[in-house]
């Protein structure tokens, strides 16, 4: 087991190295000049050179790469040209907002996906099942951008139930940051009014972000439930008079949850990566919005930082799933 874990960790290190190289190369082959953009629209050539020197962009690429890797080893990611801040500081500031959204989205996807998957399986090929399947397909097929705008139109403009964008009303003072997640911090501070308001701002973006995950979880959960509900031991249980609820929740769901849990774990990484569009439409001040703003300005250090951040989270979540599978089913260790 230990050798297998060590091999997995070594592979993770290799992938991380690959990710660093790829993000650096991609960032530097684009035909744009971050120094020129940062120096401003009317900057003279020597003004652009001033910015270039200040941020080390005048150095040869191998030297820039070496410096970047050295910085990474010390948990630094260079300076953002746009803001002048250390990228690691910016990430520390914006990451909690993204995690808040991702955790909410994951929570919503479990709360909606699992019950709907069960419903679809139990009412297989009936109207409700068809509706659930349509929802599952739509969740994957609908572009997040479009779904976000549509939901804003319905819930904010027509119904007036929810605010359009942002994280909190502009007049409301955010709670004292402890975790950086407004909802959690509001709860810790006992500011229920702020919590309630923050929740109203979070529900739409979290739902849009959750849509593909809901769809994926519904599909897996439904398929597994159908398979288990048709198994011999379930039929035998029914024949012995075990109640319907017990059959579904104690026999079927328990067995169907393993692949579903794996899917939930996998979707966590995907959801983090999908936050870019959702954060942009809802102006949610997380790392996705930070990356988009930086990319528009060709400020690649932040983009590389966010990519690494998401990449590492994705790899770690996959590693944990691998380890969990290896622990639960020793046969997979040889794979």
């Amino acid at each position: 087991m230990l050798r297998w874990v060590a091999a997995r960790l070594a592979l993770l290190g290799l992938m991380l190295g690959g990710l660093v190289v790829i993000t650096f190369v991609v960032s530097n082959i684009t035909p744009s000049d971050p120094a020129a953009l940062a120096a401003g629209p009317d900057a003279t050539r020597d003004m652009i050179e001033t910015v270039r020197r200040e941020y080390g962009l005048d150095r040869p690429l191998p030297e820039q790469f070496l410096r970047y890797v050295t910085d990474l080893a010390q948990f630094r990611m260079g300076r953002a040209v746009q803001t002048g801040n250390q990228v690691s500081d910016d990430l520390a500031r914006y990451f909690p907002a993204t995690m808040e959204l991702v955790l909410l989205a994951t929570m919503l996807s479990v709360l909606l996906g699992v019950p709907l998957g069960i419903l679809g399986a139990v009412r297989r090929n009936q109207g409700l099942d068809h509706a659930v399947r349509i929802l599952a397909v739509s969740g994957v097929a609908l572009p997040a951008f479009w779904a976000a705008l549509l939901l804003q139109l319905v819930f904010s403009v027509y119904l007036g139930w929810l605010p359009t964008s942002g994280q909190l009303s502009v007049a409301t003072a955010p709670p004292v940051p402890i975790s950086g997640m407004i909802l959690l911090d509001a709860l810790i501070a006992g500011e229920l009014g702020v919590f309630r308001e923050a929740w109203s701002y979070a529900v739409l973006p979290a739902f849009v972000l959750a849509l593909p995950s809901i769809a994926a979880i519904v599909r897996v959960c439904r398929a597994e439930m159908i398979e288990v509900l048709g198994a011999d031991h379930v039929t035998a249980a029914r024949a012995h008079g075990v109640s319907g609820g017990r059959v579904v929740f104690w026999l079927a769901l328990k067995n169907a949850m393993l692949p579903t849990l794996a899917m939930i774990g996998l979707r966590l990484g995907w959801t983090l990566g999908s936050s870019f569009l959702v954060e942009t439409v809802f102006d949610w001040p997380g790392i996705g919005l930070y990356a988009v703003s930086s990319a528009i300005a060709s400020d690649f250090k932040p983009v590389m930082g966010v990519t690494l951040c998401i990449g590492v989270t994705f790899m770690l979540s996959n590693l944990l799933i691998d380890l969990a599978y290896g622990w639960l089913d020793p046969r997979t260790r040889s794979a």
């Binding site: 009317d42 803001t83 502009v170 007049a171 309630r196």
Partner: protein, 535 residues
């Protein structure tokens, strides 16, 4: 024994209730975002799509940044009105020597920074020196004419600036050079950063607002300075508690926010959005002739567009009326390379308009007399108006048997490629807002020294024009200066580096209770003077 269907029925109710509860809990919301207030005063909420990552007035500017800089900082003079004029602000008056080299500014006596320090001549000297030494943001405007050693604080209220050579546009830049508090900047400097880190989101100004809360990517809240040294233009009861700039990047949610009353003013909407908003009750849309020329720049150094006759052919083939249609009538066609509101603007006789006979005549003088070639028209990805203009161009040039590839590129890529003639597109759609109404700003965009900048992706290189621009810049006599710029405009049109398009009207949409908004064409795109606005 219950069937699976019956079991499902029971679960259905429960699960649906759970799901509805989870989503519904978020829908019971307070009405806190209806209208922002502090005590009995209103907070005006302005929304645009552009963040303000750096507030430092000597490091960066764009429309949103400058709007916030002007709210927090003061300059010696200020732009107001339409047409824009320079009025005294921190300087109550100024005079210049006969040769235009020495400028003496006399400061008001009552101006003070937000921390209570007086705004004195040393603050002005320090600020100008800082701007030049940092060599960022506004530095390009004056650094060729201004040696820090020649900026002298004569006494507490007098600053003397001696230029290295006469510069007709000097005064036009003074409203854009803001004054910072030297004591705060020096006290907060980190190493040799000249206070840049501090001023990224810090406040060392004397302007009508002070920073209350700052997140340059999302929300910036400013408190009104009740005892602002200049006073307020509205009655005390109407003075807002402050202003909030809220960044909403996409036009659709921005429009929704205005409709819902989450914000009071918006900018950067599409022409269709403005039209729809104008028809809604309780919303007013302003509509003024802008100062931002839209041109289709042609690569004068490479490919078919390097041929002057070819460029003339395109200019005469383009359907200019399509521009007005695309803008839903909210634009005027250019009749000179200079916008109408610019000092020295003259309407050029026989300015190119669609005339297919003339277009064919010019085309016949080129190696492409029968067309049969393809050109790339590049525009900024996401700008719908530019995309539609590309389609209009495509349709226009079919008459010459020229095919247009409409190519969308992200702004950084477009600018990066446009930096060199070899990589610049054949045709590029560009809006350029001049930073001042002085004609030198526009004329310089066609000098060879500008080639490769985003506003000069035409790569024009004409020795005669270079000499004309350099001579006009040094001219101190107003009449001779105007004549020089009239000749420059004619020369630019003769060289036809662009298809000169239109001046898009500037619009802001706001709630009908918003008062005091004054349009000033020299402000950048969405920029508004928040000092005078109240609700």
């Amino acid at each position: 024994m219950p069937t699976s269907c019956e079991m499902g029925s029971g679960m259905k109710r429960r699960d649906i209730l759970m799901a509805a509860g989870a989503v519904g809990a978020g829908m019971v919301v307070p009405d806190a975002w209806a209208f922002e207030r502090v005590g009995d005063r209103r907070m005006l909420v302005f929304s645009g799509g552009q963040p303000v990552p750096v507030l430092d007035p000597h490091v960066r500017y764009d429309w949103s940044t400058r709007m916030m800089q002007q709210s927090v900082y003061d300059a010696l003079a200020k732009y107001v009105g339409n047409p824009a004029k320079v009025i005294p602000w921190l300087a109550e008056r100024w005079e210049t020597s006969a040769d235009g080299l020495v400028w003496t500014f006399h400061l008001v006596g009552n101006a003070k920074f937000h921390n209570g320090d007086p705004v004195d001549a040393e603050a002005v000297r320090f600020s100008y020196e800082r701007a030049i030494k940092l060599n960022k943001g506004v530095a390009w405007m004056l650094k060729a004419y201004l040696d820090p050693a020649n900026i002298v604080a004569v006494d507490a209220r007098t600053v003397r600036i001696t230029l290295s050579q006469p510069y007709g546009a000097f005064l036009s830049f003074i409203p854009l050079w803001y004054i910072v508090n030297p004591k705060q900047v020096t006290a907060n400097a980190v190493g040799d950063d000249y206070g840049q880190k501090f001023l990224t989101d810090g406040d060392a100004g004397s302007g009508p607002f002070r920073i209350k809360r700052w997140d340059g990517q999302a929300v910036m809240a400013l408190d009104a300075v009740a005892d602002y040294w200049k006073g307020w233009p509205m009655a005390d009861a109407d003075r807002p508690a402050g202003v909030i700039y809220r960044v909403v990047r996409e036009p659709a949610p921005r429009k929704a926010a205005l409709q819902r009353g989450e914000v009071d003013m918006v900018t950067e909407m599409t022409p269709d959005d403005y039209d729809q908003l104008a028809k809604m009750p309780g919303i007013v849309v302003t509509d003024d002739v802008g100062m931002t020329p839209f041109t289709i720049q042609m690569n004068t150094q490479k490919g078919p567009t390097a041929d002057l006759n070819f460029r003339k052919a395109l200019a005469y083939a383009f359907d200019y009326d399509a521009l007005i249609q695309i803008e839903n009538g909210a634009a005027v066609l250019m009749d000179s390379p200079f916008p109408n509101a610019m000092t020295g603007h003259v309407a050029i006789k026989d300015f190119p308009r669609r005339n297919l006979d003339k277009a064919r005549e010019y085309l016949a003088k080129t190696p492409y007399a029968k067309g049969g070639i393809e050109l790339d028209y590049t525009y900024v990805a996401g700008l719908e108006v530019e995309r539609r203009i590309g389609l209009a161009l495509l349709e226009s040039l079919q008459a010459l048997n020229i095919k247009i590839n409409v190519v969308a590129q992200p702004w950084p890529t477009l600018v990066g490629r446009g930096a060199k003639p070899e990589t610049a597109s054949d045709l590029v759609a560009v809006y350029v807002t001049p930073v001042s109404p002085d004609p030198d700003v526009l004329a310089a965009q066609y000098a060879s020294t500008a080639a490769g900048q985003f506003w000069a992706m035409h790569q024009l290189n004409d020795k005669q024009l270079d000499e004309m621009v350099a001579a006009a810049r040094l001219e101190n006599d107003p009449a001779k200066r105007l004549a020089a710029y009239a000749a420059i405009q004619q020369r630019i049109v003769d060289l036809q580096p662009c298809i000169f398009g239109m001046l898009e009207n500037r619009k802001w949409a706001m709630k009908s209770y918003v008062k005091g908004f004054e349009y000033c064409p020299v402000r950048l795109t969405g920029e508004a003077d928040l000092y005078a606005v109240h609700a």
